[in-house]
Symmetry: C2
Subunit: 624 residues, 2 copies
Amino acid sequence: MSNSGPILNFEGIKKVKGIKGKDILNIAVNENIYISSICAGRGSCAKCRVIIKKGEENLSPLTNLEKTYLSKEELEQGYRLACYTKVIGDGEILIYIPPESRAEPQKMLISGIQVKVKLNPVVKKYFLKLPKATLEDMRQDWERICDVIKENYGLKDLSISYEALINLPNVIRESQWCITVVVRDNKEVLWIEKGDTTARLFGFAIDVGTTKLAGYLVDLNTGEVLASTSYPNPQATYGGDVASRVAFAMKDQKNLSLLNKLVIDATNEMIMELCEKAKVKPEEIYEISVAGNTAMHHIYFGINPKYIGLSPYLPTIGQGISIKAKELGIKVNKEAYTYGLPNIAGFVGADAVADILASGIHKSDELSLLIDIGTNTEIVLGNKDRLVSCSTPAGPAIEGGHIKYGMRAEIGAIEHVWIDPETHEAGYKVIGDVKPRGICGSAIIDTVAHLYKANIIDSNGTFRSNLNSKRIKRDTANTEYVIAWADETAINRDITFTAKDVREIQLVKAAIRTGVNAVMDYMKVTPKDIKRLYLAGGFGTYVDPQSARTIGMYPDIPLERVRFVGNAAGAGAKAALISKEIREEAEEVRKKIEYLELSIYPKFLEIFMKATYLPFKEDLGFPI
Amino acid sequence: MSNSGPILNFEGIKKVKGIKGKDILNIAVNENIYISSICAGRGSCAKCRVIIKKGEENLSPLTNLEKTYLSKEELEQGYRLACYTKVIGDGEILIYIPPESRAEPQKMLISGIQVKVKLNPVVKKYFLKLPKATLEDMRQDWERICDVIKENYGLKDLSISYEALINLPNVIRESQWCITVVVRDNKEVLWIEKGDTTARLFGFAIDVGTTKLAGYLVDLNTGEVLASTSYPNPQATYGGDVASRVAFAMKDQKNLSLLNKLVIDATNEMIMELCEKAKVKPEEIYEISVAGNTAMHHIYFGINPKYIGLSPYLPTIGQGISIKAKELGIKVNKEAYTYGLPNIAGFVGADAVADILASGIHKSDELSLLIDIGTNTEIVLGNKDRLVSCSTPAGPAIEGGHIKYGMRAEIGAIEHVWIDPETHEAGYKVIGDVKPRGICGSAIIDTVAHLYKANIIDSNGTFRSNLNSKRIKRDTANTEYVIAWADETAINRDITFTAKDVREIQLVKAAIRTGVNAVMDYMKVTPKDIKRLYLAGGFGTYVDPQSARTIGMYPDIPLERVRFVGNAAGAGAKAALISKEIREEAEEVRKKIEYLELSIYPKFLEIFMKATYLPFKEDLGFPI
Ligand code: FES
Ligand code: FES
């Protein structure tokens, strides 16, 4: 390790070289040092807490958001959020990762920053010194450029964008015949600039989530994310989940236009914000890459998602598309393209393609199962020879919907629950270490798993009637288990989990398990054949895999085979922005993968019925 | 000949089969029956006079413009203008071509309608019956289309335009899965329509002349021109000729935008007019083709023509370009392209490429010389092995500019002049057979030739002082020859030709002859090697080749080797609209042709000096 430059000493773990401008989370992840993170460094989960013991002068100053997320005492103790804290100076920084921030070993967060991608963006810049036009060398402007670019860089048969063409005569002469051309895909000259601007080449990647937009400004010369931001998806007002959003868009062409405009406007705002942050001009952005589920993709590109919502649930286009950003109203370089990652099916979108790329199952010899858990859950089974996918509407319970005290995974949500099988007493952990307001998806799964393991509910999901615990409250309408007593909570009410909540989760897990078993049945494999289980998506990343297995969400697969894929859509969008090969890989995955429509799968109902049991009808011998 | 359908009996010439909807001029030209025409059937020259002796009930009714162009007596005698008169009914029509309308044999008008082009437009329509989407056949909309079009028509790797994509899901379902796709260049699906619309496929060709725009609405299924129109080029207000137009555009980006807007607006008006006439919707036009000189081309596409006007006089782009019509503001199908024919050099444009294609010299074994005479004159020498071009600014005299009684070739212009060498008396012929108002280019050349042949001027262009004729008026300032006496004219003044006028024409012909001799010198050929001389362009079509040779505009080439190429730009635009092969040929011509810059040609001044003499310094033995 060189002596100059910043050093990050992760106390008790290892010393690593720091990189100025990068945040601690980013550096740690790249060094395989785990720090808790749910939002993958987007600054919204407040989980990446670290304590700076020395060298704070080499770090970016405390931000207002950190002041909000961290308590006074914590701030005094030197707490920072790792993803907000950038290395800015040379010298050693001593960082302590407190126990609450140590990622549990099985939670291998594979977020975008960890996927290694060979830098090879679809747009490139070339500096050209043109021979000056004279009466002895009367090549036309464009021919002159073509000749030099062919000679110096071997590029042939280029076309030129309209805006570049009309600017061409002035640009080459005002720059004394020294120009930089921006070439896309070795085919089209998008833009021509005066002088040597090769150092400045930028792209924008966006993960269009149903509830959240995450945007990344990327330096295409280095692949570095220069700035990132996340916005709520402004479409949420018109439908919180995909189905209601699609229903709204279907009603009227105007509704579609409205949803499209909202997300495009938000994109433009994000671009403005990031450009300002990183001192980049929007017109220096030459490529945009978009990943999201199929419905979000279609609305983003102004394609009616109507038929995704109607049987047979088809996307209009599956393959990756490149549309001029100006056609979409995105304000970047006038001739930049917007690339949409491919979709597999109406409910298996680019986000699932990104999961596959991130997990690498499409290149692996081992048979792997991938489950991206969400209100719509995508399931992929296969290896490098064959891939089968399906999707299943798991419903909103996974995000806290339809659950009495359910809430999203935000500050104040109970995120983990455990129940003592002897005493039936509960323990829990709250996001942000504040008083709880409710329980989020991961804790909901924990609760059902622990109620079952503690024998409080049976395999039908019914509360046993013979139990006597103050935690179990019964009235005529419902039975419920108290997770947190009123005085421990921020809402001054008992936070409970009801018999009805249990049934909701039984249906969710039945839906998911049906998909899993259907693809297994279709491919004629047993749990023993599955060498890897990838839990993917925002939810999959922080669900306790043991709890999920206990309730039978997936088959009997040893926990050491479980891996986590964070929310891969953002990583996919970034990877596709900086790598043509990733685009090709995505396209290959799309072409290769089979899609199984569950609703017409012959054994669908049979599997579903069995899957409602805890953990699974034929798996009662299953190790819990 | 079949008995049903219309028959056109050209009295004393031959009987031919008529085609309903076509005009008499068109039919005659296709049958090699010559009827006078300067405007190539655009309805502006009033030269295509014919007398209908029988069967007028089978013809379209007399138009208002014909009533303007023809006198009362003529109308009573059955005069019509052939290009206005369409065959509409069955039965025989007896047509007499009066002597004034019989094209002189050497005036082989090769207008667009005569160039035979294999029909193979760049856009084509395909009708597809798609298998309906079901849960058993879940191919995405676009994939489904690709599969069927590949299976039925062998087209692969198609892309889809943005507007077509966003309309796709609704169109295919609302049409019960029966659609027509519009494909460009076997590559891009431009548009998708409901049901079978293959019968309706249209294109628009425009010849962007410096003074006139000629537009043609073409049925791309048949290659037929459905309707045509011509407008004055509205840019003329800002500069009558190319040089002044370019000078205006150079001054300010706003000027360029203004000129561009004027021509685009006119294009839109033409399209509206023609569509209305032919009952075609503008959105059924899927391709536009544009030909014009390089400056007009650049302004049309919004490219600054500044550097065409400044040494080394370079176009920005030479190769044929395809730009979306919407980028230019042309209101046709939203995804249609506008194709611009290739340019060779700043002053050798697509109009010259069209000349070459029309003459066929690029495919001929014979060495041919082509001269497109105009205020800027293009010269091409060569054959299928080699082509050399140059251009020379001949000045406005050719269009009547800087000539005392000069005028454009319009009604009232003297178009031919002859002088009796004995009596020195003059005869002349006026366009429209009215009283003359002035003399146009062809008569100007005649006048100089006849003054020289009649020994009134010497080879220096000087009026001989020893002549005594009332036609020669001398005053202290000038000497002039009276072509028409005041009482014969519509202006009540003598129409004369002055010594200064002679000098103007000496300079014009010197410029042209310098170009001709430079390319001959460069290619090391003598007049004897030249097997064909093509006189091209609006002017070249009606100049008397003998007069032109007499003054030495071109070398001693026997008159039987002379051929005429009409204004080929319109024909070129139409041919490129209906034929991919023509576009390829044009591109090959562009790539192959050499351009000789006269101003730096070593012998330029030497040749020019000699060329000012009548007919040419070293050619005094030349047969006149
Ligand atoms: S990782 Fe820092 S706040 Fe989520
Ligand atoms: S040919 Fe008919 S008016 Fe010119």
